[in-house]
C-alpha cells in the first residue's frame, strides 16, 4: 500500500443514505455510509448484485444526490452546487468509464476522446492534440480514425479510458468496466487503469464482480445490503 492516506481525502462521504421509491415500496440502497477516498488510490468496490455498488458510484460520480448525508469533493460541499455547477465540476474533475463503453457511435475514436475537452470549450487544435496523446497512452493511436463499431470490446473500453483521462481528472469512476469483456481483455483494461493510476497519479474507483481483478487494487471495499462490510487496504 502506498502512503495515499497521508494526503487529505479528495472525496469525503458522510452518513450517506440513498432511498428509492418503487411504487409503494421504499428501498434503502445505501445505509449511512461514510468513506474517505484519497488522491492516488486505486480502489475497488465489490459485492453481490443489489449491494448498492452502482448507487455508491453514482453518488461518488456526482450524477446522483444522496437522500441524506454530505458529499465533499476536493473540499467542496457539493450540496450547494446547482445542476450547472455540478456539471461543470464533473467536467473538470471527474472521468467516467462505463460498463457498456458509451462511446458516441458516429464519432471516431479520436473525436470521442476530444468530446469532453470540446464540451469544456478547449480549442479544436489543442483538443485534437491532447486526445491523440491520450490515445497513444492507451495504445490505440493506430485506431484514432476508427468508428466504435469497428473496434473490439477491449479497444472500445480503452478509448473510454482515454476519454476519461483526457481532461486530467482528479478521480475516474468506472462502474463494472470489465463486465462486458472476456477475461483477457478484462485483465488488460484493469492493468491499463492501474498503469495510468501509477504513472499519472489519477485516483481510480471501480466496481467489479470479478475476484481476480481485486488482486490489482490498493484498497477494496465490500458492500452488502447498502452497508460497508469491510474496507481493506492491501499490503
Amino acid at each position: 500500500m502506498s502512503d495515499n492516506t497521508s494526503h487529505p481525502p479528495i472525496l469525503k462521504l458522510r452518513n450517506i443514505k440513498r432511498r428509492f421509491l418503487l411504487g409503494e415500496t421504499t428501498i434503502d440502497a445505501l445505509n449511512s455510509i461514510s468513506l474517505d477516498i484519497h488522491a492516488g488510490e486505486f480502489l475497488a468496490v465489490w459485492g453481490p448484485s443489489g449491494s448498492g455498488k452502482s448507487t455508491l458510484m453514482n453518488i461518488i460520480g456526482l450524477i446522483d444526490s444522496p437522500t441524506e448525508g454530505e458529499v465533499h469533493f476536493d473540499e467542496q460541499d457539493t450540496r450547494v452546487l446547482d445542476d450547472d455547477a455540478l456539471t461543470e465540476f464533473r467536467s473538470r474533475k471527474l472521468g467516467f468509464v462505463f460498463q457498456n463503453f458509451n462511446l458516441v457511435p458516429v464519432l471516431s475514436a479520436l473525436e470521442n476522446v476530444m468530446l469532453p475537452l470540446q464540451i469544456q470549450g478547449v480549442a479544436e487544435h489543442e483538443a485534437r492534440e491532447r486526445a491523440a496523446a491520450a490515445l497513444v497512452d492507451v495504445g490505440l493511436e493506430r485506431f484514432k480514425d476508427s468508428l466504435p463499431d469497428k473496434l473490439s470490446g477491449g479497444q472500445r473500453q480503452r478509448v473510454a479510458i482515454a476519454r476519461a483521462l483526457v481532461v486530467d481528472p482528479k478521480l475516474v469512476i468506472a462502474d463494472e468496466p470489465t463486465a462486458n469483456l472476456d477475461s483477457e481483455n478484462s485483465r488488460m483494461v484493469v492493468e491499463l487503469m492501474r498503469e495510468m493510476n501509477r504513472a499519472r497519479k489519477v485516483t481510480f474507483v471501480f466496481t467489479t464482480h470479478d475476484q481476480r481483478l481485486l488482486d490489482h487494487v490498493d484498497r477494496k471495499i465490500l458492500l452488502r445490503d447498502g452497508n460497508i462490510v469491510s474496507d481493506e487496504v492491501m499490503a
Partner: protein, 420 residues
C-alpha cells in the same frame, strides 16, 4: 460550435431513412410555398401592368378634390379648367420621375349603327398618350407570343372622329372597321350632342364585364361632345418607376398644395379594385397553404426529433455525465433540427427552381375568372417571400425540436444511462 455542428450532422445520418423522409417533407412543403408565391408574384405583376398600362390608370391619377364622389352629379364644378390643366401639367412635367401627364375626360351615352342603339362608356384621351401608356402593358415574351395582339387599340391623332370600340360592343352593333356610327352624349350643361364617328381598330378590355360597353375616343372628340374645351376630369401621370408611386404622390401633393391647387391624387392600387380583390384572395390562399405546410413541417420535425431523442437517451446520459449542461443538450438537438430544416429548405429551393423552369418552358396558358382571353401560366421567383419562408421554416423547424430536446435535457442522468 464546430464540433456541435459535426455531431448534429452525423446524428442526422444515423437514421437515414427517417431523416430523408423528414427532409423530403420539408423540401416539398417549402417548394409548394415558394412556387405558389412565385405564381402569385407573376399574377400581381401582370395585374399591376394590366392596371397601370392595360387599363391606362397610369401610376397616379390627379383630380379636383371631391371629383370621385361628387363629380358625376356636378361635373361642371369638379372638372379641371383649361388653365388648371395647363398649369398643373407644366408643374408635373418638371418632376424627375414623371414621364408623361395625360388629360382624361370620361363620357357616356348611346352609340347607334342606324338601326339599333346601346349604351357606351368612353374615355377621352390623346392618341399619343395611349401609345405611351400602353407601351408597358406586355412583357417582351407576351408581345412575341402574339396572344395579346387584340388588346391593342389605336386612336388617330389626325382624325379625331376615329373611335376604338371594345370587341363586344363592335359585335353587338354588327360593325366593321372603317364603318360609320353615331354617338349621342349630354354636354356638361345638359344639352344633347350627337356626332358621327368612324370605327377604328377594336380591342379587348380583358374583362368580360366591360368588353361590350367600353370605348376610347380622342380627347378632342370627347371635349367636343361634352362641350368642355381644354378641360379634363383628371390627369393620368405615368412615372418611370413603379416603386416611386407612393413617394411621388406625397411629393406632388405637397408641391401642388403649395402652388394653391386643391387636388387629390390616387395611386393605381387605390383605383384598381380588381387588383386589390385578387391580391387579397391570393394572399388569403397563400396564408392558408403556408399554415398547412408549416404545420406539416413542424409535426414532421417534432416527430423525427422525438424519435431521435428516445433512441439516443443513453448518449444524452453519457454526454451529461462527462460535462454537457442541460442547455448544451437542448442546443445539440435544436442544432440538428435546424440543420435538417435548412438542408430541407435548400433542397426545396432546388425543386422550386427546377419546377419553375419546367412550367415556364412548357408554355401553358389558361383563362382566369372574369377574363376575356387566355393568359400564360408563368412562375416568378419571389425572392422576398421565398427568403421569408426559408427563414421562418428554419426558425419554426428549430423550435419544433425544442420540446423534445428540453425533455431530453431534463432527463435524470442515471435513468438516461440505464435506458435500453
Amino acid at each position: 460550435m464546430k464540433n456541435m455542428i459535426r455531431l448534429a450532422l452525423r446524428g442526422m445520418m444515423r437514421n437515414r431513412r427517417r431523416s430523408l423522409m423528414t427532409l423530403l417533407a420539408i423540401a416539398f412543403g417549402f417548394s409548394a410555398i415558394a412556387l405558389f408565391a412565385g405564381y402569385t408574384h407573376n399574377v400581381y405583376d401582370g395585374l399591376s401592368r394590366q392596371s397601370i398600362h392595360g387599363e391606362m390608370l397610369g401610376h397616379l391619377t390627379l383630380s379636383k378634390r371631391g371629383m370621385r364622389k361628387e363629380g358625376r352629379l356636378d361635373p361642371e364644378r369638379y372638372l379641371l379648367t383649361a388653365t388648371e390643366v395647363a398649369a398643373i401639367t407644366k408643374l408635373l412635367q418638371d418632376e424627375q420621375h414623371v414621364e408623361m401627364v395625360a388629360p382624361r375626360l370620361a363620357l357616356s351615352g348611346l352609340v347607334s349603327n342606324g338601326r339599333a342603339s346601346t349604351i357606351f362608356i368612353a374615355e377621352g384621351i390623346e392618341p399619343e398618350a395611349v401609345v405611351k401608356l400602353r407601351s408597358g402593358s406586355l412583357t417582351e415574351a407576351e408581345k412575341k407570343s402574339g396572344r395579346f395582339d387584340n388588346m391593342w387599340m389605336r386612336l388617330d391623332a389626325e382624325r379625331p372622329e376615329v373611335v376604338s370600340l371594345a370587341e363586344g360592343l363592335v359585335e353587338l352593333l354588327h360593325l366593321k372597321e372603317g364603318e360609320q356610327a353615331q354617338v349621342l352624349v349630354n354636354t356638361l350643361s345638359g344639352q344633347a350632342n350627337a356626332a358621327d364617328i368612324t370605327l377604328g381598330k377594336g380591342f379587348n378590355t380583358g374583362n368580360a364585364g366591360s368588353n361590350d360597353k367600353f370605348a376610347f375616343v380622342s380627347l378632342v372628340l370627347a371635349r367636343t361632345l361634352l362641350d368642355a374645351e381644354g378641360r379634363a376630369d383628371r390627369l393620368t401621370i405615368l412615372l418611370d418607376d413603379k416603386n416611386q408611386t407612393e413617394a411621388m404622390r406625397d411629393r406632388l401633393l405637397a408641391r401642388l398644395g403649395a402652388a394653391g391647387f386643391d387636388v387629390e391624387i390616387m395611386t393605381w392600387q387605390e383605383l384598381s379594385d380588381f387588383y386589390n380583390q385578387v391580391h387579397g384572395m391570393f394572399d388569403m390562399i397563400f396564408g392558408f397553404i403556408f399554415s398547412i405546410v408549416l404545420t406539416v413541417v413542424v409535426m414532421s420535425v417534432a416527430n423525427s426529433m422525438g424519435m431521435t431523442v428516445i433512441e439516443r437517451t443513453r448518449e444524452i446520459g453519457t454526454l451529461r455525465a462527462i460535462g454537457l449542461k442541460r442547455s448544451g443538450v437542448v442546443r445539440l438537438f435544436t442544432m440538428e433540427s435546424m440543420l435538417l430544416t435548412l438542408i430541407g429548405c435548400a433542397a426545396g429551393l432546388l425543386i422550386t427552381l427546377l419546377v419553375r423552369w419546367g412550367v415556364n418552358a412548357a408554355d401553358i396558358s389558361y383563362i382566369p375568372p372574369n377574363s376575356a382571353g387566355r393568359v400564360p401560366l408563368l412562375i416568378d421567383l419571389d425572392i422576398m417571400r421565398t427568403l421569408f419562408t426559408f427563414l421562418l421554416m428554419g426558425v419554426v423547424g428549430t423550435l419544433a425540436a425544442w420540446m423534445p430536446a428540453r425533455r431530453a435535457a431534463q432527463k435524470d442522468i442515471i435513468d438516461a444511462l440505464g435506458h435500453v
